[in-house]
Each structure stands twice: as C-alpha cells, then as structure tokens.
C-alpha cells in the first residue's frame, strides 16, 4: 500500500468515468466508477463534492474546516486517508503529483 501523504499543493479531482450519483431508489449517495459502485457516507460525500479540479488539497481542507467547524488536524486526516485510498484505486486523480493523469 502507498502510505505517502498527498501533497497539499496537489489538485485532486474525479477523472472522466468517475462520478457522484444520487441513488434515489435506495436514498443514498454513491460514487460510480468502472465496474464499481461505492456507497458514500456524509463525510465522503462532503469531501468529493468539494473536488472541482481547480482548488488544491490544502484549499479543499480549509473549506471543509470552515464549513464543518472542525479542527484542521482531524479533517486533514480524514481527507488524506479517504483520497489516498481512492487515488490508489484510480478513482481520484491528483494533478501535480505522481499518479496523476495518464
């Protein structure tokens, strides 16, 4: 497993073929990707909703801290773990870092 932290300057985004979806039948939010459906909890959904392909990881974390009035260390840890896992599964791309767009 890659244990590396994602650089705060990296710009995370959902690549083509990966998208958020409102599952109206089950009443949940999911991430749709090739051959995969991932059920998102509110935290995961909040993180992915912030990825616009423009703002850096540091800016995304700052936005989430302000919105949820939570300490940066906690948000940073949640976001790092969540995005690193999805990046390893090629469901999140990181601009400006190895493992970015092919």
């Amino acid at each position: 497993m890659t244990a590396d932290r994602i650089s705060g300057a990296a710009v995370p985004y959902l690549p083509r073929g990966v998208r958020l979806h409102d599952d109206r039948v089950r009443g949940i939010r999911v991430l749709l990707a090739p051959e995969r459906v991932i059920q998102l909890d509110p935290v995961g959904h909040a993180i992915l909703s912030e990825l616009d392909g423009k703002r850096s990881l540091a800016e995304v974390i700052a936005t989430l801290c302000a919105r949820y009035d939570a300490p940066p260390e906690q948000i940073e840890g949640d976001v790092q773990d969540f995005l690193r896992d999805l990046a390893d599964r090629r469901m999140v791309f990181l601009d400006g870092e190895a493992g970015g767009p092919a």
Binding site: R19, V25, L32, P34, E35, R90
Partner: protein, 378 residues
C-alpha cells in the same frame, strides 16, 4: 403487489429480495469474432428477434426505477448494432452509468465520437498480444490491428479504458506483455479473466485449459505487477476456479445484485442461466422488469440459502460464495442445487480436478469456434 404471495425459493422456502445494482444488456448475439470461449449460449438468438432501440430505452428506464445503477452494453459485439449510439444515449438518459464492452471490431472513429457523452467507460477485449495469437483465437484476420487502432481512438477521445484480457493455456504465458500493453494505452484498469469453462468454452477444454504451473506463474506476475503499478493501474484478476480451494461467489449470489437481459428480452439471473432447463425465464416484452426481479420463479429459485443441500447447508462459507455457480453445478454435477464441483468440499472435486489436469496436459490446438448459423437476408 400487496396481494402477492411472499417470494419463495425452488424448495418453497421464503426468501428476501434485495435490489439489483448492475444489468448486463446483451444487445445482440451477432459478432464478427468467433472466440472459442464466448459467453453467449450455444443456441444464439437471431437478429430478427432482437429488442429494438426503443424497447431497450424502456428496459433502461425500468432498470433505473428498480435500483440498477450501472449498465454493461455487451453482446455479441454491441457495435454490430447500427443503432448503438441511440441505445447508449437512452441508457444514459435513464440515469445509468454506461459501460461499453466491445472487441472494437465495427467501431470507427466517427462511431466512437457519437458515443462520447453517452458512454462512461469502455472495456476492450484482448485475445492475444500479437496478430498471430489474437487473430487465431478470435477467428478473424486483422482483428488485432483493428483493435489497436480502436484503442488509439478511444484514448484520443478521452474515454476511460479497461483492457479485458481473457486468458487460457494458449496465451497465459504472455500475461506480462498484456499488462505492459494496458500500461502503454494509459488504462486505469486491466481485467485478467481466466476462461470460464461452460458453453462454448466447454467444447474447448483440451486446447484452453491452463496448467497448474501457468496459474501459479500468473499469480506471481499479477502480484508483482500490482506492487509495481500501485496507484497507476488496477489489476483485477480472475484465476482458474477449479484450481482454487473454494468456488467464486457467482454473480455475488443468485438474484442478489445483478441481472442480464438477453438480445430478445429474456431476463436472466446470469448469462448462462438458460443451461438450467428446468427454470422458466420471463421476457421483458411481456412482464415488467420489477415483477420479474421480485416475483419471478427463476430469480427466486436460488436466492438465500434454504435450497442448499450438504455440504453447503452447514458450510461457514455459504453466504460468502453461495455454493458457487448454479450453471456449473448443472453442467458438471447434473443438478443445479449441487455444490459447485470446483469447490474442494464437493464429492466431485477430485474427479473434476483430475480431468482438468488431463485436459491441461493435452497438446491439442484444435479450436471449436463460436458460429451462428447464417440468417437468410430478406
């Protein structure tokens, strides 16, 4: 549907019914290729019986209402349908994630551009790593060169691409090159799937059965490549199931998360289900999809665990692998309820394994190709 009786399995046990996530839409059984392991039934559906594009649109809307999130447009070769772009757009309009499973043959750059915006992801089959192997296995001269061209167009347009390598004794030794090719194409994923030996592949056990040594080596190749490509490319690997200790969880459990619509609208729990001749399958032309899913006797037949005989009934893995594949149990044990004989706990396992070893030791390279009897053109 309040007045309907509770759903029951093939033995009358009550079952719980979940919601399907994925639908395989077999748009046609027509295909220019003739791969000797084709997953289509041996009795192929003719073009004249295929659902029309407008009928597919209705099926997609019903599927989305039922809870399906992803549709896999497959065949046969889906590009053999001239109205593929219309069908793909209808699937996307229904709110589904659209995956196109294709050999690439029949696609042009212009046709691919028509699919841009409708298709989320493309899965391109790989029969071999060079023209000699791929054209021999597919029974279609020039298929490899054409496929490489299609992969370039797919990349230029920007579709995410998965290579789907089907492996067997004739090509498994070239697995490292298949993985390299996927990397060169910028694939995010490669699927490496060992041939499933039913249907057409059952007619080709001797030329295609991999050896134990090949399977062991393939495992090492996959493990090494996963480490090397961590964060760059995902490798999904389906090993030969008779060489494993336990069967695969076929379809994640019968009637549990997936369904298959055949070219003529017949709705199946899996693509091979029609080999179980005692089951009756309903058609979406006549019965609403939700009713087939929730109430259809064929879907309920093997839901849950109540129908299981021993050794499955008391097995701690019964809700992990659900006793394996019902179609394989039918084909190899002559009983769709039986423990899948690929399971090491099946009484038939030793005999199956010995047969597979004998098949793998064969030097046969004679392939029985998939063929459709030609339809008279009007």
């Amino acid at each position: 549907m309040r007045d309907d009786p509770a759903p029951r399995d093939i033995d009358g046990n009550p079952v719980r019914v979940g919601l399907p996530m994925a639908m395989l839409a077999e748009l046609t059984h027509r295909c220019p290729l003739a791969c000797p392991y084709c997953s289509n039934p041996v009795e192929l559906t003719r073009a004249s019986a295929e659902l029309k594009a407008a009928e597919w649109a209705g099926v997609f809307r019903q599927a989305a209402d039922l809870g399906v999130l992803q549709v896999h447009l497959s065949g046969g070769e889906p590009a053999s349908r001239r109205d593929l772009a219309e069908i793909a757009a209808a699937a996307r309009d229904a709110g589904l994630y659209v995956n196109l499973i294709t050999s690439g043959i029949g696609l042009t750059e212009a046709r691919l551009r028509e699919l841009d915006g409708a298709v989320d992801h493309i899965q391109l089959s790989l029969q071999g790593i060079d023209a000699e192997m791929a054209d021999w296995i597919s029974g279609y001269g020039g298929s490899f060169a054409r496929k490489m061209q299609v992969a370039e167009w797919v990349r230029a347009i920007g579709f995410p691409l998965t290579l789907n390598a089907v492996v067997h004794r004739q090509n498994l030794d070239r697995l490292p090159e298949m993985i390299d090719l996927a990397e060169r194409f910028g694939c995010r994923r490669i699927e490496v799937a060992t041939v499933q030996f039913h249907g057409w592949a059952d007619l080709n056990r001797r030329p295609l059965m991999p050896t134990q040594a090949q399977a062991n080596r393939a495992r090492e190749v996959v493990d090494e490549a996963r480490r090397r490509l961590q964060g760059r490319m995902v490798i999904d690997y389906v090993p030969a199931d008779h060489l494993a200790a336990f069967p695969k969880s076929c379809m994640g459990g019968w009637g549990s998360t997936g369904l298959n619509v055949a070219p003529d609208g017949t709705v199946l729990p899996c693509h091979a289900a029609q080999t179980i001749k005692t089951l009756v399958f309903e058609n979406v032309r006549e019965v609403p999809l939700a009713r087939i899913w929730h109430d259809g006797a064929a879907f309920n037949a093997f839901r849950g665990t109540g129908w299981m005989p021993e050794p499955c009934a008391s097995c701690e893995r019964r809700e992990i692998d659900f006793g394996g594949c019902r179609c394989q149990a039918m084909a190899l044990a002559g009983d769709a309820r039986a423990t899948d004989p690929v399971c090491s706990r099946s009484a038939l396992h030793a005999r199956l394994r010995a047969a597979a070893e004998a098949e793998a030791a064969s030097d046969s390279t004679v392939l029985v190709y998939r063929r459709m009897t030609r339809e008279k053109r009007g």
